[in-house]
Symmetry: C2
Subunit: 262 residues, 2 copies
Amino acid sequence: MNNTLHNGLKILEFLATGAEALSIKEIAEYFQLPNSHVCRLLKSLTEIGYAEQIPGNRKYRISLKILNLANARLKKENLLRLARPYLHQLAEKLNTAVFVTRVYCGYSLIIGAEYPAFFTEAQDMVVGTLHSPTSSACGKVCAAYSTEEVRQTLLNEIDWEQTGDYQGRRKEFEDELVNIRQRGCALRDVGGVGAVGVPLFEENGILSGALGVMLPKERSRTAELWQAVIESTVSCGKLISIAQGASLEEYPNYNISARRKK
Amino acid sequence: MNNTLHNGLKILEFLATGAEALSIKEIAEYFQLPNSHVCRLLKSLTEIGYAEQIPGNRKYRISLKILNLANARLKKENLLRLARPYLHQLAEKLNTAVFVTRVYCGYSLIIGAEYPAFFTEAQDMVVGTLHSPTSSACGKVCAAYSTEEVRQTLLNEIDWEQTGDYQGRRKEFEDELVNIRQRGCALRDVGGVGAVGVPLFEENGILSGALGVMLPKERSRTAELWQAVIESTVSCGKLISIAQGASLEEYPNYNISARRKK
DNA sequence: AAAGTAAATTCCAGAATATAGAATTTAAAC
DNA sequence: GTTTAAATTCTATATTCTGGAATTTACTTT
């Protein structure tokens, strides 16, 4: 394991997630590294173009170059290219925020989103946002439709004492995953914001990600509307899966035989 | 300069911009590095979570983690947070794609975009896309309103033999920058796509970026409509600048005294 | 305006680790 | 099943990373 590369990237992450701008001292203290070391790493990061020093201030921040790198990565997402028109249509039809996610390290990572015109309620529904398995509909759906071994690893990795919808209730969460597989979709209604998540499959029944919809309760959410949203989301998810080459004969219990080809 | 960090990040960039997935051999040949070296760097990148190995394939690709990093960076953009409602309004009013850019290494980098519903013509108008100074309205406007020293450096860095709107015509480009400062906006009409770019200022007349609008000619673009688009864009740019604390007494020739505080 | 303070940066000797060739393993092709 | 090519691991050498100390820079206080 390469230490320099590791430290450099960790510093870059800290620059991204930390305060607006960080001093060498702050970074050195956070990582328990000597000032001189951090100074040199930051200098290298600056030369390569990923960090920059605020003029006058002497503090450092992560540069915008990372946006270009992320954009290049996103262009490779076939799922997104394929799902975009369906997303568009669904956002228009339901008049709310819809998004596509992929699994990253057990979390659900938003790779694309569509909003109706003048939609301003979706702060946490932007590309690049991570949603945990225990506190989002898409996170739950991804956990539910993962392979048995992946799911077990995930369940063991979750800190059940941490805050989340299922804090201290692993059993209930596992039951919910069974429900999700039976229903074919995950539901969540916390803090006045309802959400639906449905799985997206590719060939051989491999889970490729999830399709999510959010619906704040301010929008006169009747039971009928809610039911219509769920049904629209499920069928939109099926369309995307079919477009990806999935055969949906066994839907919604399609997952049961879903295993990665060895 | 830290070599390991440099090589590691260059490999990450190559993974992002290159083919879908890359073999060790391809990367090693590209960078003229020994296989074993590249293998170890990729292993480190994989451990840290920025690269991943395609199962079966043995090739490597950049992971989705970079999206999360870019998202964290984007959240720090005060210009974007402030400009968002104006963007929204302008996109709705003009019924076309509008975007905000910032300068990165002489290029114009899109940090935010808004599209009217069902707008699918904006392939190159997504967040993270770079536009060169010689082949985009926003690129031109950023060059025009930079400080004299930055502009001279930029003009010298441009390869005037390379393709671009002003290939082999540096003088014409420089004249265009003067025009832009006089008009207060940059125009571009290449390949059937018209574009307007206006500067965005912050306090002390420092250039913070540009506001751009594109208008494909399919949309029955009369001279009157075009003129209206230009005027709307210019006044929207002024509103954003004012919101950022810029005093626009000297607008549109405001730039003449614009210098970074020493 | 000048001294004092704290952080940032540079310097340097010692030591850890990156390096690149060779050997080995693995996977694919025939 | 054999062959071939690439990926990975191994290892000795030397590069360069490391972190304490010295120096410089910028900011604060009187």
